[in-house]
């Protein structure tokens, strides 16, 4: 990735009169961290970064904007928001357009074709994080870790993030400006990422998820980071009636996690953010991926690839399979 080109493009976008800010990635404060950054002027664009450490899906910020009442006489800022996206992130933008969560003409999508990002947890396990921010780059085949003036090649098959192993859209599916050359989609892992779960019988599944959900501390990071969890009035925050009790125990945690999985069926674009941020290390990816597989296999539907598509949960076809209805 040519960072100069990225920064130049971003600077050009951000100075446009119809642009409020550009959301991108910058180097984090230590180790392998990368932080989202809101760039408001051309000079800020110099901080921007696109590297195998840029796992975060920034599309979540499109709907995370807090709408406070405007002081009398003040006009709402209707300028556009520009956003850097990888392939998976662009699917979130597309899905938001499909759902009318955002207006197409309110965003400028700056597409970054993505050769795959690293799993920072695996990376930190092998090469512990240090106080000084480290860099990771692509070198064609593999990743390269640059730390303490040392270059270490990281084999792609060992360090590639799980979501990328199964990614079918490394090139942004929607973009107004593309930075860099399209990448060649790679051969997918031949498993579907949920075989382990599918191999279990009902009791084993119950036991597995019971153990997982019992760990949940209900911090709602998974919900808040998810670009497609953006209901203004989330069922989880409801107090009257209380659909899901705030008490933290297996039963309520399960109600929460299953509600979220169902609300995302046919909408989750498998960016893996929920799993990445979960402080309790609950394999949320498995849950959402399983739902996505079901939707794809049964209904031939894949969310976030076609901005003209009808939302899955709002589209009924007479020949939809209904063998699961008792």
């Amino acid at each position: 990735m040519d960072l100069e080109q990225l920064r130049k493009t971003a600077a050009e976008v951000v100075v446009r009169e119809d642009v409020k800010y550009l959301i991108g990635w910058k180097q984090g404060s230590y180790g392998y961290r990368v932080a989202p950054v809101f760039v408001e002027d051309a000079s800020g664009a110099a901080e921007l970064l696109f590297s195998p450490l840029c796992t975060a899906n920034l599309a979540t910020y499109l709907t995370l904007v807090e709408k406070t009442p405007l002081p009398r006489g003040q006009e709402a800022d209707k300028r556009k928001v520009a956003l850097l996206v990888k392939g998976c992130d662009s699917r979130a933008v597309t899905q938001l357009i499909v759902e009318h969560g955002i207006n197409r003409d309110q965003v400028i999508v700056v597409g970054c074709p993505c050769p795959g990002v690293v799993d920072t947890e695996k990376l930190a396990e092998k090469y512990p994080e240090q106080g000084k921010p480290a860099e990771v780059e692509w070198n064609g085949e593999n990743f390269v870790l640059l730390c303490d003036d040392k270059e270490t090649e990281l084999p792609r098959d060992q360090f590639l993030a799980e979501k990328c192993r199964l990614c079918r859209h490394p090139n942004p599916v929607i973009s107004d400006i593309t930075v860099g050359e399209p990448v060649e989609p790679w051969t997918l892992a031949d498993d579907n990422g949920v075989e382990e779960i599918e191999g279990k019988n009902l009791e084993e599944r119950q036991a597995y998820w019971e153990e997982q959900f019992s760990k949940c501390i209900r911090c709602y990071s998974c919900r808040n980071v998810c670009p497609l969890c953006y209901c203004q009035d989330c069922i989880l925050d409801r107090l009257n009636p209380t659909w899901v009790n705030r008490a933290v125990n297996f039963s309520e945690n399960t109600a929460f996690n299953i509600a979220r999985a169902f609300h995302l069926a046919g909408r989750c674009i498998e960016c893996g953010e929920c799993e990445r941020v979960c402080p309790a290390n609950i394999p949320l990816g498995k849950l959402n991926r399983k739902m996505a597989r079901e939707v794809r296999d049964k209904y031939g539907f894949e969310p976030g690839v076609d901005p003209e598509a009808e939302p899955f949960q709002a589209s009924f076809k007479p020949d939809d399979p209904e063998d699961f209805i008792l």
Partner: protein, 337 residues
């Protein structure tokens, strides 16, 4: 205070003597370490690094049943708290955090639930020989071998643990295992001092908080709050995992005709935390919420209780999904003063 020595060969025996006493120790669940009960035949290994989930839920459970009642009946049944417990391997910062939180729960009214649990728990600390990447306890009056709040401190000396008793509770625990211990000689005390100073030297992060508590009110409208909170997701990670965060909500929950009143953790980073019934929210955006998080720790708490409500455990930094880093925020605060 006495200093005794436990040879690591005797570790299983030592644990064996404690397991019947409701012993808890750090346990790895997946990749997330947290405190869990130690089973009768289990011998926990104490590893480097702090638990990801802080032990605050031991004294301040995430969901505390205050009392139960039947719908239509006015009789309240309070749960009885009486089982003593031992927390083995708590890090010095987390024990200090409890001392800090004690001030709040014994302030205007004594909080019976919290204080009872505090009374029932014995804190057996473990000095840190390998501080984490984002530890900055030494900036805030603590340290890898700080004893504040602990009943007993263990220091890993390679083939043995040095056990320093701090309170009568600690003495009592040591006396129960005394046949496994020998008196520590000056050589061992020297080794401990060396280990502690080496450990302190490994702490890389620091906060210079001089002037911050007094200076924060003057920065109320400073642009820094907007920039440091721009990417915040408003989740519960930094507060739920903070050993000193202690906000709670009280809600009634029913199951059929059974009902209970519970107290559960709440977070000032949640949108509904300050939401009024009228719909008005005095902290309408993540800017105000982030400002509150920092002010509460580094200003209001100091004002009220004369101590900073942050022990520098680094959890909020380690686990924030978007790299919002309190050390960095405080650096910017300091600069803006």
């Amino acid at each position: 205070m006495s200093a005794m020595l436990l040879n690591k060969e005797k570790w299983p025996e030592f644990i064996g003597k404690l397991t019947g006493k409701n012993l808890w120790a750090p346990k790895l669940e997946g990749e997330a370490m947290r405190f869990a009960p130690v089973a009768e035949d289990e011998v926990p290994e104490l590893t480097d690094g702090n638990t990801r989930i802080p032990p605050k839920n031991i004294v301040f459970p995430q969901t505390e049943t205050m009392y139960r009642f039947q719908l239509g009946d006015f009789e309240m049944k309070e749960p009885e708290l009486k089982e003593e417990m031992i927390l083995l391997g708590i890090r010095p910062c987390d024990a200090r955090a409890m001392v800090i939180v004690d001030k709040l729960f014994s302030w205007d009214v004594d909080d019976p639930y919290y204080l009872k649990r505090r009374e029932l728990v014995t804190l057996v600390g473990l000095a840190c020989s390998e501080p984490g990447l984002n530890c900055f306890c030494t900036s805030l009056g603590g340290g890898p071998a700080s004893t504040e709040g602990l009943d007993l401190l263990m220091v890993d000396l390679g083939d043995s643990y040095l056990l320093e008793t701090i309170t009568p509770k600690g003495e009592a625990l040591v006396s129960e295992v005394s046949e496994l211990l020998i008196e520590a000689d000056t050589e061992k005390i020297k080794m401990k001092k060396k280990m502690v100073s080496e450990s302190e030297g490994k702490i890389k992060r620091s906060v210079d908080h001089k002037g911050i508590p007094e200076g924060l009110p003057g920065l109320w409208e400073d642009p820094l709050w907007k920039s440091v909170s721009a990417s915040c997701l408003g989740c519960g990670t930094c507060t739920y995992l903070c050993p000193t965060c202690h906000c709670f909500d009280i809600q009634d929950e029913t199951e059929g005709f059974e009902a209970r009143r519970c107290r559960m953790w709440d977070s000032c980073m949640f949108e509904e935390y300050t939401l009024h019934t009228s719909g008005h929210n005095p902290r309408p955006t993540r800017r105000e919420r982030t400002r509150n998080r920092i002010n509460h720790k580094y200003n209001y708490y100091v004002d009220k209780f004369d101590v900073i409500a942050c022990v520098g455990c680094g959890r909020c930094i380690n686990l924030c999904p978007v790299n919002i880093d309190i050390v960095e925020i405080l650096r910017q605060v300091k600069e803006a003063l």
